[in-house]
């Protein structure tokens, strides 16, 4: 049997294990290990006397991966981003942000909802995780909106949708993971998420204001904040601004040399939030629980990373990604059409799977194929299918799949953000939230179409950084 056939059979086996409910990380590692044993044994012509050798070589090869793949400087960004998110709660930054946004923008139609989107975007700039963001703002923003006469379902939809901004606006754990898997510059990817994230927030804002102007009772404007009240609300939210500015300047400084690596920027941001939290009364008990939660979420992500990388190691020996890329490029279809099919496949997959697991499982095979479609890793913009260099294509595709994964957080049947919001508000059913989020669902579809049609939205900022 050809190694490629082994690659296909083992990959199908992996799918079965995942569907049967095995933890994704372990299913991937298992598939990788079994695949390696198979490949090495096949090399010895399935000689029964050589099975022990194949088992030993495969096990030792797989056994290298957990240590060797996690011991990397680039990956140290992930725990730091997670820690920032946890510390931000203790620092009271979320509430301060919403309060400031409210006092400044509540006066427009749908203003409280717009304030929610802005505050969420601001919080997203210090937090790497979408679901947590929705949970926080469901508590803070929905009661205020309902009290002020907003439609309850609409309010819930706003919060569920706005939560998805966290994974695009840097820092974002999922973008770091993408960069690691496809071996691209983490800094440029984080930078690339910024404008599409802000763009999504803007599209949400337009939809909200539009709806609030047409149906006056959905989201009435609220006035009455004096200029003094407005300015007083700013200082408590300032640390967020400081952290955002620092992280951005560490990745890309428009006025000169960047200040350091993204990893260092993240760490300094975390340190500032930590000091703020201590100032706000965080002590050992709270710090300990933040550290434990950070450890748990971090190890969950890293277990998938090394599990999938054992599978990727097997794919390397089976040369499946190469074969798949050859197959894709041999299809007589336009590259753009194939790309759209791939994105639609992600939309379907995303209905049933967690975003990180979905990306990690599929990227090792799909990413090389997309790069090959464009004309290869080193292709120039002029010779490429999508009109961009190999590096830029990697960034563009990364933002597209992450936006797809985020989109799936608000799509039925398992849009996790909607469940979280419904969970926080016992008076709202999941169906209510799905109904409230429907306009944003449309907005996201439009955003994705625009990002596909105008890659410049994604690529402008990273191209400035050289």
């Amino acid at each position: 049997m050809e190694t490629i056939d082994i690659g296909i059979i083992v990959s199908l086996g992996l799918l079965v294990m995942v569907v049967l409910g095995m933890r994704v990380a372990f299913a991937a590692a298992m598939a990788g290990l079994v695949g390696l044993i198979w490949i090495f044994w096949a090399k010895k012509g399935y000689d029964p006397a050589q099975f022990g050798w194949a088992l030993t070589v495969a096990t030792k090869t797989a056994g290298q991966v957990p240590h060797s793949k996690v011991a990397s400087q680039a990956l140290s960004l992930i725990p730091t981003f997670i820690l920032i998110g946890y510390l931000a709660y203790y620092a009271g930054l979320t509430k301060a942000l919403f309060e400031a946004a409210k006092r400044w923008i509540a006066w427009v139609p749908g203003g409280l909802a717009v304030a929610t989107v802005f505050a969420t975007a601001g919080f997203a700039a210090v937090s790497g995780a979408s679901v947590a963001t929705s949970a926080v703002f469901a508590r803070i923003a929905i009661p205020e909106m309902v009290e002020n006469g907003y439609n309850k379902k609409f309010a819930a939809g706003v919060v569920a949708a706005a939560g998805t901004l966290a994974s695009l606006i840097p820092p974002s754990a999922i973008l770091v993971i993408y960069a690691i898997i496809v071996e691209q510059d983490v800094g440029k990817l984080l930078l690339a998420g910024f404008i599409p994230g802000a763009f999504s927030a803007l599209v949400y804002t337009l939809i909200i204001v539009g709806i609030a102007m047409i149906w006056k009772r959905v989201g009435p404007p609220i006035g009455g904040f004096t200029w003094k009240e407005r300015f007083v609300s700013l200082p408590p939210a300032l640390p967020i601004v400081a952290v955002v500015v620092i992280i951005i300047f560490f990745v890309y400084n428009p006025f000169g040399d960047a200040w350091g690596t993204p990893t260092e920027g993240g760490a300094i941001g975390a340190f500032i939030v930590f000091l703020m939290a201590v100032y706000r009364g965080m002590r050992w008990v709270e710090l300990k629980s933040a550290l434990l939660e950070t450890a748990k979420l971090t190890v969950m992500i890293f277990t998938i990373i090394w599990g999938v990388l054992i599978y990727v190691r097997f794919l390397g020996f089976a040369d499946l990604p190469g074969a798949f890329a050859d197959w894709i490029t041999s299809l007589h279809m336009s590259p753009m059409l194939i790309l759209i099919c791939i994105l639609l496949a992600y939309a379907v997959l995303g209905m049933f799977m967690d975003a990180i697991g979905m990306l990690l499982l599929t990227l090792p095979v799909v990413y090389p194929a997309v790069m090959a479609l464009n004309g290869g890793e080193t292709v120039s913009a002029a010779d490429s299918a999508f009109g961009m260099s190999g590096t830029m294509c990697a960034i563009w595709f990364g933002i597209l799949v992450v936006k797809m994964a985020e989109f799936c957080l608000i799509t039925p049947p398992i849009g996790l953000n909607c469940f979280v919001v419904a969970g926080v508000r016992p008076d709202l059913s999941v169906q209510d939230v799905f109904r409230g989020v429907a306009p944003f669902f449309v907005a996201d579809a439009v955003t994705i179409a625009l990002l596909v049609a105008f890659p410049g939205i994604v690529l402008w900022l990273p191209s400035l950084a050289g």
């Binding site: 294990m17 995942v18 569907v19 049967l20 409910g21 095995m22 933890r23 994704v24 372990f26 590692a29 298992m30 290990l33 096990t59 030792k60 056994g63 290298q64 957990p66 240590h67 996690v70 990397s72 140290s76 725990p79 730091t80 998110g85 946890y86 709660y89 203790y90 979320t94 995780a129 679901v131 947590a132 508590r139 803070i140 200040w259 990893t263 260092e264 760490a267 975390a270 340190f271 709270e286 300990k288 550290l291 434990l292 450890a295 748990k296 979420l297 971090t298 190890v299 969950m300 890293f302 277990t303 090394w306 799977m353 990180i356 996790l416 469940f419 979280v420 419904a422 969970g423 999941v430």
Partner: protein, 211 residues
């Protein structure tokens, strides 16, 4: 944001062992969390050293590489106990009673098999970097300041061994549930619908907002 499935307890031997092991796992989790904190401090020190004192930390990257296994792998069993490792439970969550426990037993057994093999493989990885006869017992070192790597490599089989113990306990618990036909077994994370999980996440978050 506190991700944690509920695990029932009683005064059976199994449950006591579960809680005993959980204390060890929590300790490992704390080591992991403190390592993240240390990493943050190291980065602040490194940037400060470079920009303020004009004396960069030598071997900054080497130290990160040595610390990462503590952060990324040490708490693997802690997360398994609390049911944090993600999975697709769309099918499993439809099963009830014995069928559910049989399915859990089979996948857990597979994971145990995998983990036992990985203990062997990661131990061999450690052994290749370790030599009693060499200075600092080191046969593999980092690129810049030549720190011995073996302690970092040893973290992996150590963490996996604790995970193997955890999986054995879970197999015991699922096996018992199959025999007794109970709906509420102790010592294993229970599957809950998304709404319940969400409610608990939200609760944890709110608690913090009030502080």
């Amino acid at each position: 944001m506190a991700i944690k499935a509920s695990v029932l307890a009683d005064d059976s031997l199994l449950s006591r062992l579960d809680r005993g092991l959980y204390r060890l796992e929590t300790m490992f989790g704390l080591v992991s969390g403190l390592s993240v904190f240390a990493l943050m401090i190291l980065a602040v020190y490194s940037v400060g050293g470079r920009n303020i004192l004009n004396s960069p930390v030598r071997g900054y990257v080497d130290w990160i590489e040595i610390t990462m296994p503590l952060i990324a792998i040490m708490a693997v069993s802690y997360a398994q106990r609390d049911g944090v490792h993600i999975r697709m439970d769309i099918l499993v969550s439809r099963l009830r009673g014995r069928w559910l426990w049989i399915a859990e037993f089979v996948t857990t057994l597979l994971v145990l098999l995998l983990v036992l093999l990985l203990i062997w493989g990661s131990w061999a990885h450690f052994q290749r970097s370790f030599d009693f006869a060499a200075p600092l017992w080191s046969r593999d070192s980092t690129i810049d300041i030549k720190l011995p790597i073996w302690p970092a490599k040893l973290v992996v089989p150590l963490a996996f061994s604790v995970l193997a113990l955890r999986l054995v306990l879970q197999l015991w618990a699922y096996g018992r549930a199959i025999l007794l036909g109970t709906d509420n077994p102790v010592a294993v994370p229970l599957i809950e619908d998304a709404a319940t999980i969400a409610a608990r996440e939200a609760e944890a978050v709110t608690g913090r907002e009030d502080t």
